[in-house]
C-alpha cells in the first residue's frame, strides 16, 4: 500500500505547470424543446500534468457529462478542448487519435469486457493501438503486477470481486502510459473498505507514473486526497473548494 509520503511528492517538474488538457466554454445540452436539459453551461478548466483533481457536486450536476466530453466520448455542443496545446474538439478524427494516446478511463461499473480474461482486458487498448504481441504481453503483465493481480491474469471478470475488477480496470487505464486518467466514481460500486483500497491504488499509481487524474466522486475522503477540487453545480464550476455540508 502506498504511503502518504508518495502522495505528497510534488508534481513532476517536467510536466508541472503545463496543461495536459485545457477546455474553454464547454456547453452540452440533452434533448430539445421544453424537455431540454443543459448539462454543461460554459465550463472552463485546465488540468496540469500529474495533478490529481476531484470533481464534486450533487447528483445530476453534469459531472459525468463533463468527464465524457473531456474524454471525447461525447462531443461538446460548444467550446474548445485542447490536448498538449493542440485543439482537438473541431476534428473528431484527430480528437479520437490524440485522446486514445493521451487519455484513459476508469468507470464506476468497471467496464471490463466480460468475455476477456484479466490480462486480455488490460491488453485491449494495446491491441486496438496495434502494439505487437510480445510488447503487449510484457506491458500488460507489468500493469497487472502494478495492481497486484498477476496471479489472476487468466480469470474472467465474473470470477473476480468488485475490488479486483476495478484494479484490473486501473491496470487497463495505466497500460498505454496515458497523460491523463478520467475516473467516474471509481469507488461508487464498492464497499467502504474496498473503495478506500482502490482509491489508494488509483492515486498512488497516478502519482508514481506522473499521470494526471481527474475523478468524479461523492466521497469527501477522495476529495481530501486530491490536489484540487472542482465543484460542479447545475452545469457550471462554482468554485474550487466546495464545502459539502
Amino acid at each position: 500500500m502506498a504511503t502518504r509520503a508518495d502522495e505528497m511528492t510534488p508534481p513532476p517538474d517536467a510536466q508541472a505547470g503545463r496543461a495536459v488538457l485545457a477546455a474553454t466554454g464547454l456547453r452540452k445540452r440533452y434533448g430539445r424543446g421544453d424537455g431540454a436539459v443543459d448539462a454543461l453551461r460554459g465550463v472552463d478548466l485546465e488540468i496540469r500534468g500529474g495533478e490529481i483533481v476531484a470533481v464534486m457536486g450533487p447528483s445530476g450536476c453534469g459531472k459525468t457529462t463533463l468527464l465524457h466530453v473531456l474524454g471525447g466520448i461525447e462531443p461538446a455542443d460548444a467550446g474548445e478542448i485542447s490536448i498538449d496545446g493542440t485543439v482537438v474538439s473541431r476534428d473528431e478524427r484527430r480528437l479520437a487519435g490524440l485522446h486514445r494516446r493521451t487519455v484513459t478511463f476508469v468507470f464506476q461499473g468497471f467496464g471490463l469486457i466480460p468475455s476477456l480474461s484479466a490480462r486480455e482486458n488490460v491488453e485491449f487498448p494495446l491491441v486496438a493501438a496495434g502494439v505487437p504481441a510480445g510488447e503487449r504481453h510484457r506491458s500488460s503483465l507489468a500493469a497487472l503486477a502494478d495492481v497486484g493481480l498477476v496471479e489472476w491474469q487468466h480469470h474472467l471478470p465474473e470470477e473476480m470481486s468488485g475490488g479486483q475488477r476495478q484494479r484490473v480496470a486501473i491496470a487497463r487505464a495505466l497500460v498505454p502510459n496515458p497523460r491523463l486518467i478520467l475516473a467516474d466514481e471509481p469507488t461508487g460500486n464498492l464497499d467502504v473498505a474496498t473503495g478506500e483500497e482502490v482509491l489508494d491504488l488509483l492515486i498512488t499509481s497516478a502519482r508514481r507514473r506522473r499521470c494526471a487524474l481527474v475523478m468524479v466522486t461523492h466521497d469527501p475522503d477522495a476529495g481530501a486526497r486530491a490536489d484540487r477540487i472542482l465543484s460542479l453545480r447545475d452545469g457550471v464550476l462554482v468554485n474550487h473548494t466546495e464545502d459539502l455540508t
Binding site: I73, F107, G111, L116, F124
Partner: protein, 902 residues
C-alpha cells in the same frame, strides 16, 4: 378485462410501432409460408384433377336398360340439366362380320353405330380421316378398310344376327376411331367394368339407321325371348354420350367427384329404371382423390420445418424487445397491476399481433406465390380459396403470437419484479427440451418409425399405373421428428462445441481475432441460436432442393422404365408391318433400335406368363437397364451371359421365388405359336431381375429373341425400342420423326418419354415440384436473412455497453466492425457447413418415403448441383447484406448514453 387493460394494450401496440411491426413481421413470415404451401396444395390438387380427367374422352355415358325408351325425350331432358354441355345419342349394334359383297376378306366381330351429324362436333372420339359423313352411307374404321381393302364409294355387307340378311351400305369415308375405346363396355362377364376394344366399326347416320334398321332390329329383339332378362345387352344399345362443363368443377378431386356423382344421380333419377349412367369422369376422379390427399400431406410436411423456423424467428424477434417488455411489466406491477391484469395485457397484445400477422401473412404468402410461380399460380384460386385460407392463417398467426409474444411476457410476469429492476443477470435454467432430452427422444422416435417402415418390408413398388396409394401418414412423422431432433441436438452440441472451438481459436490467434474468439466462446448460447437459425433454414432449403431433384430424377427414371427406352413403337396388332421397319425406325436423332418379341400367353408350370425376347447384344445399349434392376450381377454381365447361352432366360425375382428357380436351373416354358398351339422349350436360367424395362408391368421371363423366333416360327417383332439422346426433347423429336412412317393403313402406337412424363399422370409422379421448390427457396432466403439480421442487431443492442466501452478504451469504429464481421462471418460459415449434412439426412429420409410413389425403388438422393449452388450463393449474399447493413448501425451507438452509469 377492464377498460384500463384494453386501453394500455392498444397504446402499447400503437405507440411503439417498431416493436409491433417487428413482431408482426416475424409472425407474417410464418403465416405467409403456411399460405404459400396452401396455395401450392390447392393448385396441385387442381392439377391432379385436371390430369385425371384430361384423358377421359366422354364424361358420362347413359345406357338405356329398356328398348322402348325415347332417345329424343332423354336427350331433351339431359340437355336441360344445368352443368351439362353436350349430349349426343348413339345407337350401337353388334355385327358378327363385315365383308365386301362376295369378297373373301372378312372382319372379326365389330360394332355398327348410328350417330347424328352433330356428334362429330360434340365429341372428338370419332374423326373422319378421309371421305365424308354422308346421311346415306357409312364410315368404316381404318382397320376395317385395310382388312377389306375398301375405299369410299365401295359397298360393304354387315352381318347382324338379328337380321335375316347382311345389311348392305355404301362406304362414304374412313373414320379414325383410335380414341373410341371408351365407347363400349365389355360384355364379357369376366371383364366387367372394362372397356371393350373394338377395331372394326361401321358408323352411320341415325336417320338412315332409323329408316333402314331400327324397326327390323327392335322387332327381332321383341321376338327374342326376353333378351334383357339375363343381363346381356339389348340388341340395340341405346346410349347417351354426355359432356359436362368441366370448368365448373371444384379444384379438389374429392369435391369434383362428389359433384359429378351428384349430377349422374340426378340424371338417372329422371328416368328411374330406364337409364343407367356410366360415370367415366367420376371413376377417373376417384383414383386422383387418394393421390391428392397424399400430395397435400406431403407438401404440408415438407413445409412444416419452415413454419417451425418462422416461429423460432418470431420468438427471437420478440426477445429483442424482451428487456423493454420486462421493464414495462415491472413498472406495471409497481403500480399495483395484478398478475391477471398483466397476463390480460400480454394476451390481448398477442391476440391483436396474431390477427395482424395473419392478415399481413395472407398478403405476403399470395405475393410470394406469385413471385415464385408466376401470375397463373393464382389463376386456379377463387374467392373461396382465399376464404378457406383465412382460418389457417389466423390459427398460424395466433399460435405464433402466443409463442413469440405472450410466453415471454408470462415468464416475465412470474419473475420477481425487483430482479428485473436490478437487472441482475438471470441464471438461465436449461430449457425444458434439454432437461427432458427431447432431441434424443425425437431422433429415437424417427428411428422407430423408419425401422417399422423397414420391418413391414418397405413400400412395395407400385405395380400398375394409376393405382391409388394408401399411405400410412404417420410415416411422414419420420422426417419431421428427425428434423426436430437434429435441430435440438445441434443446439445441445453447439453450446458445448463453440466454447472449445473458440478457446483453441483464441489460442491460435492474437489481437482482434483473439478478442472475437473469446467473445464467441462467451456467447455460446446466442451464437448457437444464430448458427442454428442459419443452418436449419439452409438445411430446410437443401433438403427440399435434394428432394425435388431426386423426385425429378426418379420421375424420369420411371418414365424410362415405363417406355423401356426413349421411344417405344408398337405396330398395330395383326397388321402387316412395313418392310424393313427396324431400319426405317433409325430416323435422324435415333441412336439405336432394337426389336422385342412378346408372348403374352406362354405357360410356365400351370400358369400363364409373359415371355419377352430381346437381342441381348443390343438391348443393353438401347434400353435403360441399371444394375439396380438386377440381382447379383451387373447388367453387362447378365446380358452377355444371356447372349452366350442361346436357350438362356432371365427370370423375375417373383417368379424365381415362386418356382424356387436358381441361376443354372432348367426352366420349361410352353411358348404359344398362334392359334392355340404351343411349343415346349427347355430354357436355362442365367440371371434374376427385379425389374426389366421390356415392360414395367409384366416382365416375367426374358429370353433371346432369335431362340424365341425359331421356337415360335415367326420373326415378327411386337414392339421396337428406339434410343435417342436420353432427353425429353430428343425423345420427342425422334417420336415426331417416326410417326409419319406409319400411314393410316398401318397404325402404330408411338410412346415417347415426354408423352409418358406428361400423361402418366393419374399418379403422384405427375406433379411439378419446381413451384414448391422456388416458393420455399424464397422463404429460406428471407428467414435466413431475417434471422441473421436479428441476431446481429440484438448483438449490437445487448452489447451496446461493451462496444461503447471498447470505443472508450481505444478501439476505432472500424475495429469494432471487424469484430462484428469475424463473429458474423463465423456464424455464416458454420451455418452453411452444417446445413449440408443436416439437409442431406433429411432429404434421405424424405426420399425413402417417395419409394411408395414411384414404380422403381429410390436408390438414393440425386444431387443436382446447380440448385444447391444457387441456394448457397443467394443465402450467402443475403447474409452478407445483413452483415453489412448491421455493421452500419455500429457507429450510431451513442457512447455517452450507453456509458452513463445508473
Amino acid at each position: 378485462m377492464t377498460r384500463g387493460v384494453a386501453a394500455y394494450t392498444f397504446r402499447l401496440l400503437l405507440r411503439s410501432p417498431g416493436r409491433s411491426l417487428a413482431l408482426i413481421g416475424g409472425l407474417s413470415l410464418g403465416v405467409a409460408l403456411v399460405v404459400s404451401i396452401l396455395f401450392f396444395v390447392e393448385s396441385s390438387s387442381k392439377q391432379l384433377t385436371q390430369t385425371a380427367i384430361a384423358p377421359v374422352p366422354i364424361d358420362m355415358v347413359g345406357h338405356a336398360t329398356v328398348p322402348t325408351i325415347s332417345q329424343r325425350q332423354v336427350v331433351g331432358a339431359f340437355r336441360r340439366q344445368p352443368g351439362i354441355q353436350a349430349v349426343e345419342v348413339m345407337d350401337a349394334v353388334d355385327f358378327t362380320t363385315a365383308a365386301r359383297p362376295g369378297g373373301a376378306q372378312k372382319t372379326p366381330a365389330g360394332k355398327l353405330v348410328a350417330v347424328d351429324p352433330s356428334f362429330f362436333q360434340s365429341f372428338d372420339v370419332l374423326k373422319v380421316s378421309s371421305g365424308a359423313f354422308d346421311p346415306n352411307g357409312a364410315l368404316v374404321t381404318e382397320a376395317t378398310a385395310t382388312r377389306l381393302g375398301v375405299k369410299p364409294g365401295d359397298t360393304i355387307a354387315v352381318s347382324i344376327p338379328a337380321l335375316a340378311a347382311p345389311y348392305q351400305v355404301k362406304v362414304t369415308g374412313i373414320v379414325d376411331a383410335s380414341r373410341a375405346q371408351m365407347l363400349f363396355l365389355s360384355t364379357d362377364p369376366s371383364k366387367q367394368g372394362e372397356y371393350q376394344v373394338v377395331t372394326d366399326m361401321v358408323v352411320m347416320d341415325r336417320s338412315l339407321f332409323n329408316r333402314a334398321l331400327r324397326t327390323a332390329l327392335l322387332g327381332a329383339a321383341s321376338a327374342q325371348p326376353a333378351p334383357n332378362a339375363t343381363g346381356g345387352a339389348p340388341v340395340v344399345d341405346q346410349q347417351q354420350l354426355i359432356r359436362i362443363d368441366r370448368t365448373a368443377l371444384p379444384g379438389s378431386p374429392a369435391a369434383a367427384q362428389t359433384r359429378v356423382k351428384t349430377l349422374a344421380r340426378s340424371l338417372e333419377r329422371q328416368f328411374t329404371g330406364q337409364i343407367k349412367i356410366t360415370n367415366n369422369l367420376g371413376d377417373a376422379l376417384g383414383s386422383a382423390k387418394g393421390d391428392a390427399l397424399t400430395a397435400k400431406i406431403l407438401f404440408i410436411f415438407l413445409g412444416l420445418p419452415g413454419v417451425a423456423l418462422a416461429v423460432f424467428l418470431a420468438r427471437y424477434a420478440g426477445e429483442l424487445y424482451g428487456e423493454a417488455q420486462r421493464r414495462e411489466i415491472g413498472l406495471l406491477r409497481a403500480r399495483g397491476a395484478s398478475s391477471r391484469q398483466v397476463l390480460g395485457i400480454a394476451g390481448l397484445a398477442a391476440g391483436v399481433l396474431g390477427v395482424a400477422g395473419a392478415a399481413v401473412g395472407l398478403g405476403a404468402g399470395t405475393l410470394v406465390t406469385v413471385l415464385a410461380r408466376g401470375n397463373n399460380a393464382l389463376a386456379s384460386a377463387s374467392a373461396g380459396t382465399f376464404i378457406g385460407m383465412v382460418p389457417w392463417a389466423l390459427a398460424a398467426g395466433l399460435l405464433m403470437a402466443v409463442a413469440s409474444s405472450f410466453m415471454p411476457a408470462w415468464n416475465a410476469a412470474r419473475q420477481n419484479v425487483i430482479d428485473e429492476r436490478r437487472r441482475i443477470k438471470r441464471v438461465e435454467r436449461a430449457p425444458f427440451w434439454k432437461r427432458a432430452w427431447l432431441d434424443v427422444g425425437a431422433l429415437l422416435a424417427a428411428g422407430v418409425v423408419l425401422f417399422l417402415l423397414n420391418l413391414s418390408g418397405g413400400f412395395k413398388p407400385a405395380g400398375g399405373e394409376g393405382q391409388t396409394l394408401s399411405f400410412s401418414f404417420y410415416l411422414f412423422l419420420a422426417p419431421l421428428l428427425l428434423w426436430i431432433g437434429l435441430t435440438l441436438l445441434l443446439q445441445r452440441l453447439l453450446v458445448k462445441v463453440i466454447p472449445l472451438f473458440a478457446r483453441s481459436a483464441a489460442g491460435a490467434s492474437s489481437g482482434f481475432g483473439q478478442v472475437a474468439a473469446r467473445s464467441m466462446g462467451w456467447r455460446a448460447n446466442r451464437l448457437t441460436s444464430a448458427i442454428s437459425v442459419v443452418a436449419l433454414t439452409l438445411s430446410f432449403g437443401v433438403s427440399l432442393a435434394l428432394f425435388t431433384s431426386t423426385y425429378n430424377a426418379q420421375k424420369r427414371m420411371d418414365a424410362h422404365y415405363a417406355v423401356g427406352s426413349d421411344v417405344r413403337v408398337t405396330p398395330a396388332l395383326g397388321l402387316a408391318q412395313p418392310a424393313g421397319l427396324r431400319q426405317r425406325l433409325l430416323v435422324p436423332g435415333a441412336t439405336g433400335v432394337t426389336a422385342v418379341m412378346r408372348d403374352g400367353s406362354a405357360v410356365v408350370g400351370s400358369e400363364r406368363h409373359v415371355v419377352y425376347g430381346i437381342n441381348a447384344a443390343k438391348f443393353g445399349s438401347i434400353s435403360y437397364l441399371p444394375d439396380s434392376f438386377l440381382v447379383g450381377e451387373s447388367a453387362t454381365t447378365m446380358l452377355s451371359n444371356l447372349r452366350a447361352t442361346p436357350n438362356g432366360v432371365l427370370i423375375s425375382r417373383d417368379l424365381a421365388n415362386t418356382f424356387s428357380i436358381l441361376v443354372g436351373d432348367p426352366v420349361l416354358v410352353r411358348l404359344s405359336t398362334g392359334g392355340g398351339a404351343y411349343k415346349d422349350v427347355r430354357l436355362k436360367a442365367v440371371g434374376i431381375f427385379k425389374q426389366f424395362p421390356t415392360s414395367s408391368q409384366d416382365s416375367d421371363l426374358v429370353m433371346n429373341r432369335a431362340f424365341m423366333a425359331q421356337a415360335r416360327g415367326t420373326t415378327a417383332a411386337d414392339f421396337y425400342l428406339v434410343r435417342a439422346d436420353g432427353t425429353q426433347a430428343g425423345a420427342t423429336r425422334v417420336a415426331n420423326e417416326i410417326k409419319p412412317l406409319f400411314g393410316s393403313t398401318a397404325p402404330a402406337q408411338v410412346q415417347d418419354l415426354t408423352a409418358t412424363l406428361a400423361t402418366d399422370q393419374s399418379t403422384l409422379t405427375s406433379l411439378n415440384l419446381s413451384g414448391l421448390g422456388s416458393t420455399e427457396r424464397i422463404f429460406t432466403l428471407v428467414i435466413a436473412f431475417a434471422g441473421f439480421g436479428i441476431f446481429l442487431l440484438s448483438a449490437i443492442a445487448e452489447r451496446a455497453k461493451e462496444f461503447s466501452t471498447m470505443r472508450a478504451i481505444g478501439a476505432a469504429p472500424s475495429q469494432l466492425r471487424r469484430l462484428l464481421a469475424i463473429e458474423g462471418g463465423s456464424i455464416m460459415v458454420f451455418g452453411l457447413l452444417l446445413s449440408v449434412p443436416v439437409g442431406f439426412i433429411i432429404a434421405r429420409v424424405l426420399v425413402t418415403l417417395l419409394t411408395s410413389i414411384f414404380s422403381l425403388p429410390v436408390s438414393g438422393v440425386s444431387v443436382s448441383l446447380s440448385p444447391l449452388l444457387i441456394l448457397f450463393a443467394v443465402s450467402a449474399g443475403g447474409l452478407l447484406v445483413a452483415l453489412v447493413l448491421t455493421a452500419q448501425a455500429l457507429p450510431r451507438l451513442s457512447l455517452g448514453t450507453t456509458l452513463r452509469e445508473e
